[in-house]
Subunit: 416 residues, 2 copies
């Protein structure tokens, strides 16, 4: 069905996501980078260890290395006695052997000498004249020892391809001697601002000009999601002008975002440009969401191209709901269970919200903490106001099959 | 009370945090940076707007600007008629005036012409021969219009000092013409690795050497928390050597982390160095937490200095619980309600965990999602293993007054 302005029906949110999911985008490229730069990057190789960690059995305590059998049956009132024959130095391989009735002083992290199989903590010993000590506690073999390969064993899988690298992963890679890592290149995303009325933020306003809000909002969203924004500037609402800059952007970046087309004519023009540039062209034009209904999604020979409505709130929703999903595929990230619940919280609504059926509504909320209980307070305002985005802490979704939500309802908030 | 090794009692977690809270650290410095670089930085000035946004009343729809009173009482079956006298161009100040019975075509974002006070959507109009249109819907003044200053009014407070800047804040600042922003400088944090057995990750292992895990783990944690890590290298466990590198680090950075001192002797040495370097010196040495008990916190004339235990798990807990709090003060961030709940989720324990009373225990967990319900599965392992940190998605805390937690208990998980 097409309305009097020639616009087709907006498709449901789920259908739009499904269409994007079924589109093939160009796979990310890879690069090898030094260990110190990997935090937050996406691993492009599976990593297993070429060596045992630790590569020797070591003590987890300051104490005495000995044979556990020398301590069997020992209590504080019925101690055993062993002779301290030597001392283990940090980082050195002990040159001696521990026999029955013998012990060696050992620091935390020291290599267990041959013959010893447990470490008695200093706290559980007493000096007993000469080199002898009293053993005040029974030990089992392996007590206070980390065995060779117990942390990471040689050949064991450590990290999977598509994993987003965290600080502890840097530590683990350092531990097994990996100094360079294969990661996916960050996708470069071109941002093209269009509109005869749009000017850069540094210029004074004349007449009915407005400043370019969206390319800055989008830059930040891209940076926060592992991409490299490339702001291409502001262009007039003219087919040839926009066609030529989009042509160049598709060649030099992994995704193209065209913002500013609030009016029907501009978005139609964006759609025509996407269709003309490559296959499959426009994937959908119009989604039953508010804000953000006029969104255009397309693909030009493997490169995703989005035509975004002009309102800042619509841009943010389009990004959070659609662009982020596509971007994740361009970054190569495969999310684990916990990745999907980061920055997602549950809170109770502080007031009723009504919503139109057959449309997914996104409502900005402010989070309030009352005695440890979290509440979501809707930030109500006319569509498109940037101030409401600034006041909000996150967004909630009212599904298309609901006519609204009630005060006290538990809602899921995406924080941003 | 001092034990047989000369160690004092470990203080409770709350007391340790209170002592840090009561210590005065040097305030962060400020710098002015361009708008495109502010994402994630901490604002060092309060920002209010010097102008109205929008600076003119504008249409939120494609339609006709007119006087609302010309539509009063109108229904689809009882339309009104107005004459379209002109058209508003994007970015231009209309040169004409709308009188009773008149209208002008206007695009979304166009400036409302003088005399008009509402916008009729195209959908609610019909052509009616010549320049006349049928009006099919009654409007109230202000319908489909954003008034001058309705988004951000001149003089209104927009962002507070200490706010962590987000993408939408970049958009809002662009909107009101702010191209440079005063932010706090990122604190530089020196990481000093100590230990006779420690070698860099790129070198093959000899004897009982181990690779430097902690300085990489810490680098990542610092990067993720708004700081600039400066790895100073690996130093032998020798008073003068460490004294001299810490002396230099205290002068050239805003925080100093000394890692690797697992053994009592090394930590005592670190404590002595902190005490000798400046006031007030050591704040506490030993906290009743597991892992991470031997932590030393100090302050050298306003610069925080931490002596960290050598186990990677203890390093991570020390960072998450103590260092992060101090770091936030060095970055200048003042957290809002939602900042405190980011990356915090609730989940149910999959098994019982026991814990020692009078000690706060931190347990690594993996997050499982079963039909939308989140579960926290403890990653049990000997203390200090890096692999358990890699397997985990987050950490839970068992308070000092509990003897453990039961399967099915709801726990709060800090994701990392």
């Amino acid at each position: 069905m097409v309305d009097m302005l020639g616009r087709g029906d907006a498709i449901p949110l789920n259908r739009a996501l499904e269409l994007l999911d079924n589109t093939t985008f160009t796979k990310p490229e890879i690069e090898r980078i030094p260990l110190e730069d990997i935090c937050g990057r996406i691993l492009a190789e599976a990593i297993s260890s070429d060596e045992d960690l630790p590569h020797f059995s070591r003590s987890t305590m300051d104490g005495y290395a000995l044979k556990a059998e020398d301590t069997f049956g020992v209590t504080e009132t019925l101690p055993a006695y062993v002779k301290v024959i030597d001392e283990v130095s940090m980082g050195k391989t002990p040159s001696f052997h521990i026999a029955r009735g013998e012990a060696a002083k050992i620091p935390t992290g020291g290599m267990l000498p041959a013959g010893a199989d447990a470490v008695l903590m200093f706290e559980h010993s007493q000096p007993f004249g000469g080199h002898d000590i009293e053993v005040l506690k029974a030990l089992a073999p392996g007590d206070n020892v980390i065995h060779k390969g117990q942390d990471i064993s040689k050949g064991a899988a450590l990290l999977f391809r598509g994993h987003k690298l965290r600080p502890q992963d840097m530590g683990a890679l350092a531990a097994i001697g990996i100094c360079n890592v294969l990661v996916y290149k960050k996708p470069v995303v071109s941002i093209i601002s269009t509109g005869d009325e749009i000017i850069p933020p540094g210029r004074p306003l004349n007449g009915a000009e407005v400043r370019d809000i969206n390319s800055y909002n989008l830059s930040g969203l891209l940076l926060n999601n592992g991409a490299m924004p490339s702001r291409k500037g502001i262009y007039r609402d003219d087919f040839n002008t926009i066609y030529s800059i989009v042509t160049e952007a598709v060649k030099t970046s992994q995704m193209v975002l065209i913002t500013g087309g609030s009016s029907v004519g501009t978005l139609d023009m964006t759609g025509k440009i996407i269709d003309r540039l490559g296959r499959p062209g426009v994937i959908f034009h119009g989604v039953a969401v508010k804000p953000g209904k006029p969104l255009i999604a397309g693909c030009v020979d493997g490169t995703p191209v989005f035509g975004l409505p002009g309102h800042p709130a619509a841009v943010t929703v389009s990004f959070e709901v659609f662009i982020k999903e596509v971007l994740r595929r361009l970054t190569g990230e495969l999310q684990g269970e916990s990745g999907t619940c980061k920055n997602i919280i549950k809170a109770r609504l502080t007031s009723n919200i009504s919503s139109q059926p057959a449309r997914t509504d996104f409502i900005w909320v402010k989070i309030l903490n009352k005695d440890g209980e979290l509440y979501a307070q809707p930030v109500l305002s006319k569509s498109g106001l940037i101030a409401s985005l600034v006041k909000a802490d996150g967004v909630i979704e009212i599904p298309a099959d609901k006519r609204g939500l009630d005060k006290g309802d538990e809602v899921i908030v995406r924080l941003f």
